[in-house]
């Protein structure tokens, strides 16, 4: 089984939707599961999903492989503290896409001060 901890408006996919307690859905693990496959199986629209997802407490992406017994934490788009373009550049803002380098590159600040190290 996989325990999925849902927050914000994603709580509607759980039986207990009280925001002052965990809204947990238990899902049967299937071989080859990723966060994406589990989210789709639960019927959560990908557009509702924020980019904050934590697999066993580690920051993860939709394509992360999920093992039986894992804990998954999902936050909705209106609680997201990440840009979606980290996962899907086509959904990003023009400003974000125009940013230099890949999403993994350092910030303008990092670039500006690197040489001084």
């Amino acid at each position: 089984m996989i325990d999925i901890h849902l927050y914000g408006k994603l709580r509607r996919f759980a039986r207990d939707q009280d925001p002052t307690s965990p809204s947990i859905v238990a899902v049967t693990w299937e071989s080859g599961d990723t966060i994406r496959s589990i989210v789709l199986r639960l019927g959560i629209p990908l557009t509702d999903l924020g980019s904050n997802m934590f697999l066993n407490g580690r920051y993860a992406t939709l394509d992360a492989t999920v093992q039986d017994g894992d804990r998954l934490g999902l936050f909705p788009d209106d609680m997201q503290l990440l840009y979606k373009w980290y996962f899907s550049p086509s959904q990003g803002s023009a400003a974000a896409k125009s940013r230099q380098g890949s999403p993994d590159s350092t910030s303008p600040i990092g670039g500006g001060t690197k040489s001084e190290g």
């Binding site: 925001p19 407490g57 503290l81 980290y86």
Partner: protein, 649 residues
């Protein structure tokens, strides 16, 4: 060019200095040997200088200097020993400095590093940022600097408040408080000058009782903003912060960390009341560049998911982080014993939002703590009867007074938050101290009622209260506790460094002691701003350095640190920040100057701390973190000492 002097005070001495010339003019009236007031000022350009009248007796003095028409920024120096004020031209080397850059420069240059923080040789410096007081969004920060009684090192703490805008608009780039007065005093500053009044009768009171009557006394909230210390500062407790009112007059916005409230108390300064009516505002060297920059900044803040209207911070406040950091296994719980708290959801931003809705019948989006803020992240919490209980329950406060003490009752957390605001205390240090006291058997983890009683002890300034008001390190020594999560005497904030190594580096090397705002490495590690990083990867050296430099620069602009979310993701927002500064100052800074200036600030602070006696041995996380694995990740603090020392080495 001579200014015109009007002296209405009997028995005062006025020394007037023009443009560096010693054009001293003594004006003596009255009888005997009265208290001497010296108003020294310089008039670099034509203008009218007015000494306004007031009562002068053994207890009370008033004097002033007209600011109206002054086209250039100045320093206002306040000598509490003599209760005199003087205006000074800004030395050329400080020409472009403001905010943290300026407070740290003045502390570095004027304060003996080995002085006692509560003695006469320490100084307290207030400085609004470069763009504070302009139309730039989210920029009403005031930096407060001094030698910290909590850490023994240099300190800059900042707050968002209309007080900062008024000081900036009066053309006061730095307010420097020195000396020590007997008793407690109010300093009132307006465009006619600065004056003193006795404030003894206002001491020993809760700040929510004091502020409304102070607004009445000095006109109204529309006219003035008030800076104050509470009971904790009056008793010179190292956990005392400096309080400013928010836009609704609540005494709720704090330059909280490092005990600067105790420094203000040691000066005998209870209030600084500012009225900016008649002030001309900020002079802008290049309006076009400034406008271009502020529009880019506004666009970035409005566009970004974290900072936009009804985005994460506006809806759920900073406490949105409780559930997120808890999921990441990095929410320090029960005095940093574990990284997950079973009751996290009960004290999180969502619970605050939904709880308010249930109790008031309305969806309450958050408000701006200070004028001109787009992010608007300041929340309120309401009682069961729908009346307001407290504002603002920040993430750090919900964590410190909640999870870190094992308390999952939001009403109890709210009451503790309120009491910290009432007594003038840093919520982070107090939450950390209560947790250490719980570790030492003073109370049980999770006993919110007892925690509330203990904060009342601080408010009553009992011996136990004074021990707790001295912070977590003192509590650890007092109660025989080895698990004291501090660096340089300052308790850690709400991110577990064993789980998020970059924030651990920030804690270790910060000139401020354990301080998340010194370099917000939490942003890229957990929040994902500016790239994905694995929080558990120990290669954090360069990250920590660059974020400390960038943070020091943001603290200089007058912007709230939360703009970092937007400007690190949106390149034009970052450009906008630099262009705004260029517009105000007439400089030609580029992104490279952000790092250069940040480095300069840190170098000043590091030099002060070295002269104060700090060594690399002070740049260490507490030992228990190296041998106690933190659940749920079961990780220890494993960054090498050589890596830590290489950051600023």
């Amino acid at each position: 060019m001579r200014g015109r002097l009007i002296v209405a005070n009997p028995g005062i001495v006025v020394r007037q200095q023009h443009a560096g010339k010693d054009a001293t003019e003594d004006v003596r009236r009255g009888i005997g040997a009265p208290p001497s007031i010296q108003v020294r000022f310089s008039c670099p350009t034509p203008g009218i200088a007015t000494i306004v009248g007031g009562q002068l007796n053994n207890q009370s003095t008033r004097n002033g200097y007209g600011l109206k028409g002054a086209p250039m920024d100045r320093f206002l120096r306040v000598d509490m020993s003599a209760r005199t004020v003087s205006f000074e031209d800004i030395p050329s080397k400080y020409k472009n400095r403001a905010g943290r850059w300026l407070t740290s420069s003045i502390i570095h240059d004027e304060v003996p590093a080995t002085c006692h923080p509560l003695g006469p040789n320490n100084k307290l410096v207030f400085s609004p940022g470069i763009v504070t007081g302009t139309a730039s969004p989210t920029s009403s920060r005031i930096s407060v600097g001094g030698k910290s009684p909590l850490t023994g090192g240099i300190k800059e703490a900042n707050a968002g408040t209309g007080w900062a805008r008024r000081l900036a608009k009066l053309g006061i780039r730095a307010l420097i408080v020195e000396g020590q007065a007997d008793g407690f005093w109010t300093l009132k500053i307006d465009c006619h000058g600065a004056s003193f009044e006795p404030a003894e009768s206002w001491t020993g009171e809760r700040l929510s009782d004091v502020y409304p009557t102070m607004f009445d006394r000095f006109d109204s909230l529309e006219s003035v903003d008030i800076c104050s210390i509470g009971i904790a500062g009056e008793h010179r407790m190292p956990a005392a912060g400096i309080c400013f009112n928010d836009q609704n007059g609540r005494p709720s916005r704090y330059a909280g960390r490092g005990g600067l409230g105790a420094v203000m108390g040691s000066k005998g300064l209870k209030f600084i009341v500012i009225n900016d009516a008649g002030a001309e505002g900020i002079s802008i060297a290049d309006q076009e560049t400034f406008d271009g920059g502020r529009k880019k900044m506004a666009a970035a803040l409005t566009d970004h998911a974290i900072t936009k209207p009804q985005g994460a911070l506006n809806s759920y406040g900073t406490a949105v982080l409780v559930n997120i950091i808890n999921e990441a296994g990095a929410l320090p719980t029960n005095n940093f014993r574990t990284g997950r708290f079973d009751g996290a959801a009960k004290i999180a931003g969502e619970a605050i939002f939904e709880g308010n809705k249930a109790r008031t019948g309305a969806e309450l989006y958050n408000h701006a703590c200070s004028p001109g803020c787009i992010i608007r992240c300041s929340n309120t919490w309401h009682r069961e009867d729908g009346t307001e209980h407290t504002s603002c329950i920040e993430y750090e406060s919900a964590w410190a007074l909640g999870a870190n003490c094992g308390v999952d009752n939001l009403d109890q957390v709210a009451e503790m938050n309120l009491l910290c605001n009432e007594y003038g205390l840093d919520t982070i240090e107090i939450g950390g101290t209560l947790a250490v006291a719980m570790e030492g058997g003073v109370a049980d983890f999770g006993d919110g009622a007892k925690a509330i009683e203990l904060i009342h002890e601080i408010g009553k300034a009992t011996p136990l209260g004074k021990i707790l008001g001295a912070g977590a390190k003192v509590a650890g020594k007092t109660f025989g506790v080895a698990r004291v999560p501090h660096v340089k005497g300052q308790n850690m904030p709400a991110y577990e460094p064993r789980a998020i190594k970059g924030i651990g580096m920030t804690y270790a090397i910060s000139t401020m002691g354990a301080d998340h705002t010194a370099g917000y490495t939490i942003a890229p590690e957990i929040l994902g701003v500016s790239g994905k990083l694995d929080p558990l990867n120990p290669d954090k050296v360069e990250l920590a350095r660059n974020f400390q430099y960038a943070t020091a620069f943001i603290d200089t602009t007058g912007h709230c640190l939360f703009i970092a979310f937007a400007i690190l993701d949106i390149a034009s927002g970052f450009e906008g920040m630099v262009e705004e500064c260029n517009g105000v100052l007439g400089t030609a800074w580029t992104a490279d100057d952000v790092g250069r200036i940040g480095k300069e600030i840190l170098d000043l602070e590091l030099d002060f701390n070295r002269r104060a006696g700090f060594t690399p041995a002070d740049d260490r996380l507490p030992e228990f973190m190296t041998y106690e694995p933190l659940p749920p990740h079961d990780v220890v603090w494993d960054i090498s000492e050589s890596d830590i020392d290489s950051v600023f080495g």
